[in-house]
């Protein structure tokens, strides 16, 4: 079973994503901050990480840089309310970029695509 880590400071989003992705058959953990995420990453191995960019007083882009260096096997999807971050060079490090929406189909499609790519590699 593929494991997914959700990093988002909004409790409602963590809950919604957890429910939807669990229903899709993934094993899901959620973190509200970078510190919590690093704690989970130290204990577990994940196939995909869903990162919010604006995390209260932190930036998901900082965590992204760390993950790219230290967890190169893991695919990272930036999930944010700001579509403008697509133009930020640091966001290009991510494997995918999805704008938050009430319709999660695009996010689910991206997770499937990245997992299939990982499997093929």
């Amino acid at each position: 079973m593929s494991r997914i880590l959700i990093v988002d400071d909004e409790a409602s989003i963590r809950l919604l994503y957890s429910q939807e992705l669990t229903d899709e058959g993934y094993r899901v953990d959620a973190a509200a901050s970078i510190a919590e995420a690093l704690e989970l990453l130290a204990k577990n191995s994940y196939d995909v990480a869903l990162l919010d960019i604006k995390l209260k007083n932190e930036s998901g882009l900082d965590l992204l840089q760390k993950l790219v260096k230290e967890q190169s096997e893991m695919a990272v999807i930036l999930s944010t309310a700001f579509s403008c971050y697509k133009d930020d060079f640091s966001a290009w490090l991510a494997d995918s970029y999805v704008v938050k929406s009430s319709d999660m189909q695009e996010l689910k499609d991206e997770i499937r695509r990245l997992l299939a790519r990982k499997k093929a590699d």
Binding site: E10, S12, I13, L16, Q19, E20, D23, K54, A81, F82, S83, C84, D87, V99, K100, S101, S102, D103, M104
Partner: protein, 537 residues
């Protein structure tokens, strides 16, 4: 002894005098004046003197006095002519000085100077060339030639000048207004060949400049110190090379000759021309400096204007940036809870709720979807405040957008066809904004199509303008419809419900592009994005 002259013959009436012309009648009443001015040369008087006996002592005295008188008279006439010529010269130099002192335009100064040198009413040289020092090229550069190119032209020009009866000032004005431009072209080949490097110290032009004196060449064909090419080019044995020096600065060289008449250049001509060269050099330098000053002032004015425009733009951009940040921030704040509301509604809908609640959930999902679309448009608008311009392939953009909207059109049972012109140039545009607009137009057209309809997207180029058009073959627009669509955010346009076309109008306007709606012959409407000329490379 009988005499013929009226002085000695009492029968001779002075009124019969053949030497007194019309207008000289006063001489009848003034015998003294008549004798000095007329009788001294009168044939009758001379005959009377000759017939006087040789032993008459008065005969020799009178003859001696008469010869002396004639010699003095000739001398006086010569002096008078010289005085008159100098007076004319002073008057002429005064006229020139006035023009040279008051004119600030280089071409006008040159017109006056060159006309004065070559005109019969001036120094009367046949031809003159001006070479100016170009410090950037380190050369004496041929600048202007004046005069006829051959004998035929010479006679034609001189005849024309004679008949015009212009004064020197009028001639120079006429030259400046109607002949200067053609004269510049006429001697272009000669001027190019006259150009010489300032490093060629042995060249006669550089010698004249260095020694600061006019060089009068009298036998150029046999002069070993003169470049053969120059002699062959001028085709004359006599010419003048005058340095133009102003306040110790070398301005240029005046080269003058009489290649048509081959008239020798007299010392007096030389002296006059040298006197003339000084104010000319000064006027040329002043006009050149004024011209450069004017150029600098123009550059400064232009720079100031650009600076003001930039300042206004910065202020505007700052205002827009504030609006953009506020808009994006609000949209971001709404998007997170909205995603949660819509997401949970969808989740509940999937998890099999009772039928009576299902309708409510469907409304919640639809409302969330609509708000999502509104947010997307608000984001697009806030991003449009800062267009990111680059060179893009318009056909590639059209293909990408078409691929993205095809699934949605398929749901509506509509087809999308591409008709892209080959080899169109790349365009300077904001890819995201133009993509958004094309998508908005396609969806606007799709909304009014019947199932089975075909939407065509076409690109074209007319050399300076690029067009991207969406063809709606089913619906024509009334004038009222068109006016409504052209008015951004009119009451029937709502964000998230096709309001994208209105937003598209604003974006394109800011982008420097244009959205037009044209009737298609036989029915239908063509929506076109026209990229302005300046945006096309």
């Amino acid at each position: 002894m009988s005499y013929d002259c009226c002085w000695f013959n009492p029968e001779r009436n002075p009124l019969e005098c053949p030497n007194i012309d019309e207008g000289e009648e006063y001489l009848y009443a003034s015998p003294r004046k008549r004798f000095v001015e007329k009788c001294i040369d009168c044939q009758w008087f001379q005959r009377d003197l000759a017939s006087m006996p040789e032993n008459n002592p008065f005969k020799n005295i009178i003859l001696t006095l008469r010869e002396e008188y004639k010699e003095q008279k000739g001398h006086l006439q010569s002096l008078s002519a010289f005085l008159s010529s100098k007076s004319r010269e002073i008057k002429f130099l005064h006229e020139l000085s006035l023009v040279l002192q008051t004119s600030m335009e280089l071409d006008e100064v040159l017109s006056v100077a060159m006309t004065a040198i070559t005109s019969g009413k001036g120094f009367g040289m046949n031809r003159a060339f001006l070479l100016m020092v170009d410090r950037e090229r380190n050369s004496l550069v041929g600048h202007l030639g004046v005069g006829p190119k051959d004998y035929e032209e010479a006679w034609r020009i001189w005849d024309e000048v004679d008949r015009s009866n212009f004064s020197l000032t009028e001639l120079s004005k006429d030259f400046y207004k109607s002949k200067l431009a053609t004269e510049k072209v006429k001697f272009q080949d000669v001027l190019e060949q006259l150009t010489v490097s300032l490093d060629d110290t042995s060249h006669i032009f550089n010698r004249a400049l260095r020694e600061r004196r006019t060089i009068h060449v009298e036998n150029a064909f046999d002069d070993q110190d003169i470049d053969r090419k120059l002699v062959d080019l001028l085709g004359v044995s006599r010419f003048l090379v005058m340095p133009l020096i102003s306040r110790n600065r070398s301005i240029g060289i005046l080269l003058a000759d009489n290649f048509v008449t081959n008239k020798p250049i007299s010392p007096r001509d030389l002296q006059s021309l040298q006197t003339f060269a000084f104010p000319v050099a000064f006027a040329i330098e002043r006009a050149s400096l004024y011209e450069r000053l004017q150029e600098e002032v123009d550059k400064q004015t232009q720079a100031n204007r650009k600076l003001q425009e930039q300042q206004a733009l910065i202020v505007k951009m700052e205002q827009m940036a504030v609006v953009g940040r506020i808009t994006a921030s609000i949209a971001h704040s709404i998007r997170n809870p909205l995603a949660a509301i819509g997401g949970f509604a969808r989740h509940l809908l999937k998890s099999g709720n009772p039928d009576e609640k299902r309708e409510y959930l469907e409304h919640l999902v639809a409302a969330a979807k609509q708000l999502d679309d509104v947010l997307e448009e608000v984001f697009t608008y806030s991003e449009s405040l800062h267009p990111v311009m680059d060179l893009w392939d318009l056909n590639q953009l059209a293909a990408m957008v078409s691929d993205a909207v095809r699934p949605k059109l398929a749901e509506m049972q509509l087809l999308l066809e591409l008709d892209l012109a080959e080899g169109i140039p790349k365009a300077w545009l904001d890819y995201k904004q133009i993509s958004y607009c094309l998508r908005a137009i396609i969806l606007h057209v799709a909304a009014s199509q019947q199932p089975g309809g075909v939407i065509r997207v076409a690109s074209s180029s007319d050399g300076n303008t690029l067009r991207l058009c969406v063809l709606d073959s089913q619906n024509s627009l009334s004038a009222e419809d068109r006016s409504r669509l052209m008015t951004p955010f009119s009451e029937t346009e709502t964000l998230g419900e096709g309001g994208g076309l209105a937003l598209c109008m604003i974006i394109l306007e800011r982008h420097g592009s244009l959205l037009t709606m044209e009737d298609i012959a036989g029915g239908g409407t063509k929506y076109c994005i026209t990229l302005q000329e300046k945006g096309v490379i």
